[in-house]
Amino acid sequence: CLLAAPAWAQSQAVSGRVLGSDSGALPGVTVLEQGTTNGATTGADGTFRLSVGPRASLVFSSVGYATQTVAVGSQATVNVTLQASATELSEAVVVGYGTQNKADLTGSVTQLSSKDVGNQPVQSFEQSIQGKAAGVFIESGSGKLGQGIRVRVRGVSSISGDTQPLYVVDGIPVLADNLSSTSGATNPLADINPNDIESINVLKDASATAIYGSRATNGVVIVTTKRGRVGATKFTVAYQTGLSSPTHTRDFLNAAQYTELLTEARNNNGSSAASTATRLRIIAGDQDPTSYDTDWQHQAFQRAPFSQYDLSASGGSEKTKFFISGQYSDQNGILVSNRYQRMNARFNLDHQATDKLTFGVNVGATRSVNNRLPNDNAFSTPMQIVALSPLTPVSDPRTGQPVGAIDPATGTYSTNFPFYYNPLLSIAGGAYTTTVYRLLGNVYAQYKFTPDLYFRSEVGIDFTNYNEDQYQGRITSRNSGPTNGFSYNAAQVNAKLVVNNYLNYHKTFAEQHLVDVTVGTAYEQGQVTGNNVTGTQFASDAYRTIANASSITAGSSFNNGGNTLVSYFGRLSYAYAGKYLVGGSARLDGSSRFGANNRYGLFSAGSLGWLISEEDFLKGNTTLSLLKVRASIGKTGNQGFGNFPSRNLFTGTSGYVGVPGQSPLQLGNPDLTWESTTQYDAGLEYGFFDNRISGEFDIYLKNTNGLALNQPVPLTTGFGSIFRNVGSLENKGIEFTLTTRNFVGDFAWTTSFNAAINRNKITNLNGPSILGSNLSRAQEGQPLGVFVGPEYAGVDAANGDALYYSNATMADGSLDRSTTNDINGATYVVVGNPNPTWTGGITNTFSYKGIDLTATLVGVFGNQIYDGGAQYYSVAFNNGYDNQTTDQLNRWRNPGDITDVPKAYLFGGNGTGASSRFVRQGDYGRLRTVLLGYNLPSSVAKRGYLQSARVFVQALNLLTFTKYKGWDPEVSTDYLTGTGSTSQNNINQGTDFYTAPQARTFTVGVNLGF
């Protein structure tokens, strides 16, 4: 019959297999009948099966691959090979409040997929993308688990404000406040299961970020979680297990060397042979000093197993799609007692109620338990154990107890044996646990008025319940005080509400004019509240909670007052003929953080792009297959400060033994407003030989003005600093990426390379330098965090004194290079820079049949590290009895000796002052990940009723290439960078202070799909 009767239209069965150009069978590819919602997802072996209507075309799409459309025609089997590509033009890129096609994009955005983040033995996803995104510098401060990670997109654009990017998960800006009670920051992003992540988009230039307005200066990281796809329900089960060890240990003196050098240091300070013999005996626990040769450093580390279990189910019908996952991960740290356990559950649901109305929910819930360690500047932190003498036994022969537990002479807990507190006592008799419950979720509804116009409303909450418990039993009393036990409990709630409403209009007019418009509003509010209690005097060490404390010694509550943000935003993009691109965006933000006069800020950006390869003269050119140029300019802000920096405040916390008191808290500045950054970006995207070679090149300049600077003021005012919009800094740099598909086919080999150069400079402080710890400071004309101090000139060959260059400016403008042994006589000069000159990464992926191998090498070059502990352990006993690094054996001994290690002199202070002596080169290259996997042929898998089966082995931080003599060059001590002062955090970069090395982890695992 001739009646149009689609219900009876013949349907046709189609099946086939999808291969990836770089990795064999491609599971999880979405196969859609074009123009319908009829679709399927490929199984583990890349196969799919679908019924389609007549004259159907199939659209194959998968993140990281070129989308391909194939007309079915009369074929019953459609096999396709998708081209892997980092620069695929039709790929959807998640931008703020919507998505855009890569082809139409005029901003600088790096997109990463689940391939880059899943299944690694790390706690949070940022650790997985180290070295994979150009211009995104990621640094784990140490090998402690669950700690704060520093992520810097295109340099550091603030001195006193937040420098981390804004994180947005499924459209909702999420909490990233550190709630730790110590200055060792924890990482709120570790609450997100990396295996739930579908894609990560890093928005870098102003045209991409300006839609996030007052929080966009540091870049925006948009995380999208996995969603269900139409098709049969698919289950995956994964398990992996492994073991971690330190990347590197440091060489300290053994017992014989210690005795030799200490004896010399005591001889030099005039100690008698008899007193030295007595002292050595005391150090050895009143035993013959030759009795022991303890490797204390070894005692700080533990065998560190790792295991992780993942389970997920996804699937759905045309109307309802879901993704459910759960994970349990249990990772032991390389330092004694350090452990991180996490349980996650996620439920993502999309439901199409009518043709026009869709709604859904995305919820992730997490519980993590972190058995933590004190910060690096605590005597009780395991790494400080290296200070102990190798003459001292681990276990006191007089008592059989760990040394320091009980002084047999007095029957009390020793205060001076060993000469420092033994951190193992805190492990044996204490605990420090952080338990976090986090709920991060949103509901959305989307209404499609016409095929071109939809309205979307999102309501999200982010809720963190943070609990900290510390206990220190009697055995720790030398460190915690003679209080018969010490207990601390803190509970905090960090809650945030986000409401987004926006309209999107997307239409092509006359086939040439593509217009995409988004306008909307957002409202956010957040608040942190909490309280804490400290108790002492416990009946016995068996009682550990505050409830059993006989004396409550401290207690407080905390309420940060909250903050709100009211925003209006819009974005317009226009493409003519698919090759001339124009974009613009703006956001008006109102924030409670600033005074009534400066409450609203407007942030906007404009951009242009030209897809030259779409021009007639290049179209179809297989040699130059892609050429696009783009440029943008825009203004963004930073409001990452405390909630009330503009106010002149008093605090009532100054009571005096129970009598109420008050005192000034901070100086206000009613004119305080945003930090403002103008960013210029020019980019070029290229592809050769059908995109076998492709990549991007960007050059940018970020000028930050009106720094909301915590500016130091004379202490004679009674204050240390005031917030003012003064000063400016700049970041400028180049980013380069190159992906080459060296071999395609059965044997595939892809290489992705990226490199970035960033130059940071403080152009104007409008006042004095801001001093950080040690030599770190913010100084005009220099990069942030530059090391400024006395320049070490080696050792006076005549007498073994440490020498410093005078460096005074002479009448003719030159520097006085004469030397002095008085460190106060040395003019401070720039002696190092913790900012790398360039960073990069290279990832090679090989696959052959079912076998794949991926290796990522990362590199950080041109930076210096301040070895903060060296003033104690690399000074030939000039600062006390601390065990010394073996390089101190090269000390000056006799007149005429040429060396850079001054004379050994117990407590002599010779060369111990902070100077360039302790500044080291920090360059490193690291084989960050190596992953070898094998996918069982589906015929074999199916015999086990499985859709897919994969086994893999991987290594994290397998090899490190560096000249740095410390533990690990990827270092930033937590006690200086997680402090309450953001200025100090930003300035005190690149300092090592008994900081735990990174972990080298090996795991084996299996992924099963059924």
Partner: protein
């Protein structure tokens, strides 16, 4: 608010006010507000960077010539003991900063006296604030400037004198150093006023005797012995008596809270308020950072109860003066007043209140030592040193008596007026304020 689309309601959402602190404009409105600000000034003294410990500790370590050895693990105290202080020394900075924070708190009180309605209360409040400010200036000028008797006080740079509270910061806050003499003038003016304004009894807070006592310290430091003896004599007129046992003055087997009969002014501590850092440094059950050497122990006469306030172990000898973890820090004891009166009278050739001999014997009798028949200046000074050991007197006494101390690294003497015995103006402060002149040697 965005749901309704009302701009006004959205604006209202932006009016978020702090809850854990209050706007300064509302902080000093009433008499009680000013009283609370005054109490907050005492709280500032509790800081370890003030009389919680470091002011006394720095003074004793810097002057020490081998009586004690710092064996702890902090690096700054080693610099004090070696008398080679670096200009970036953290304690030099925090003690300076804390001092001026205290002064600013006191200035806030003094600038708002008009809010105090009751006349008696107003007078007392002014007296307390001036006392606290003077006490702080006196210790700042002694730590950061040349001694009174070293050269010309009216020409030597002292420390900047600030007498108004800070509400904003401009270039006018880039102060130069006042002279040593100007600082002393300010201190004496404040203390003289305070002594007349303060009541005889004021609980744990400063009273007129405390003001007289600090005044006696100031005069003694200046070598104005007559005035020192007179001021000390006025302080002894209070309701004070020596504690029968020297050791229970410091430790009664439990934490101390209330002042003893001997205490004229103390910094109070409790488990919830303040930190006694001296307990941390000296306490055997704490860090035990200070090892007492035989050189000190040998100075005690046989039978001196004060020699019993030490614990000798095989590894180390400890002082027990600060064994009370939450013990109050004794800032002014009656014994000091007897010693100051004795010295002042002796040097001035007077006998205001009592003869030097009777004052010295009073102090000796309490610690079980036999009465002397005559006194000499060395006897008075030795008695003072042993009685007030570890209480922060060494540096001031060394300088005014022009004694020398010893470089522990080289064994060489360090003269009383050596620049090494003066703290650096903090490096951070020099960087911020170009009008400050650094001390010699830094």
């Amino acid at each position: 608010c965005l749901a309704t689309g009302s701009v006004t309601s959205c604006n209202n959402k932006l009016n978020v006010v702090p809850v854990d602190s209050i706007d300064a404009g509302n902080a000093l409105s009433t008499s009680d507000d000013v009283q609370a600000a005054l109490v907050g000034t005492y709280t500032s003294l509790q800081s370890i960077d003030a009389y919680g410990g470091y002011i006394q500790f720095i003074s004793d370590l810097l002057a020490d010539d081998g009586d004690i050895t710092f064996v702890g693990t902090f690096s700054n105290p080693y610099q004090f003991q070696r008398k080679t202080i670096r200009r970036d020394n953290g304690n030099a900075q925090s003690t300076w900063g804390r001092g001026y924070a205290t002064i600013n708190r006191a200035n806030n009180v003094l600038a708002n006296l008009d809010k105090v309605t009751a006349a008696a209360s107003k007078t007392r409040t002014e007296g307390e604030a001036r006392f606290l400010r003077a006490l702080t200036y006196f210790d700042l000028v002694r730590l950061y400037a040349r001694a009174w008797n070293d050269g010309t006080p009216s020409a030597n740079p002292g420390v900047p004198v600030v007498t108004t509270p800070t509400s904003t910061v401009t270039d006018a806050n880039l102060l130069a150093r006042n002279t040593v003499a100007e600082v002393y003038t300010q201190v004496i003016a404040d203390l003289t006023a305070a002594e007349s304004q303060l009541p005889a009894s004021n609980g744990i807070f400063a009273n007129k005797y405390a003001a007289a006592a600090i005044l006696s310290r100031v005069y003694l430091q200046q070598g104005r012995f007559t005035e020192a003896a007179a001021a000390a004599n006025r302080a002894t007129a209070g309701p004070y008596m020596l504690n029968p046992d020297y050791d229970t003055e410091f430790y009664q087997g439990a934490d101390l809270l209330a002042n003893t009969a001997e205490d004229i002014f103390t910094i109070q501590n409790s488990a919830q308020s303040g930190i006694n850092q001296l307990n941390v440094f000296y306490g055997e059950q704490q860090r035990g950072d200070i090892s007492i050497n035989d050189q000190l122990l040998n100075q005690f006469e046989a039978g001196d109860d004060r020699a019993g306030l030490f614990t000798v172990t095989t590894n180390q000898t400890y002082s027990n003066k600060y064994d009370a973890q939450y013990g109050s820090v004794k800032l002014i004891r009656l014994a000091e007043m007897y010693l100051t009166r004795a010295e002042g009278n002796f040097r001035a050739g007077t006998a205001v209140g009592a003869t030097p001999l009777s004052d010295i014997n009073r102090v000796r009798a309490r610690v079980g030592l036999p009465a002397l028949a005559t006194v000499t200046l060395p006897i008075i000074l030795k008695e003072r040193k042993l009685e007030l050991a570890f209480e922060g007197f060494r540096l001031g006494d060394l300088k005014r008596n022009q004694e020398s101390t010893t470089d522990p690294t080289t064994g060489a003497p360090v003269a009383w007026n050596s620049p090494r015995l003066v703290l650096p103006i903090p490096l951070a402060e020099i960087n911020v304020n170009p009008n400050l002149v650094q001390n010699p040697g830094y």
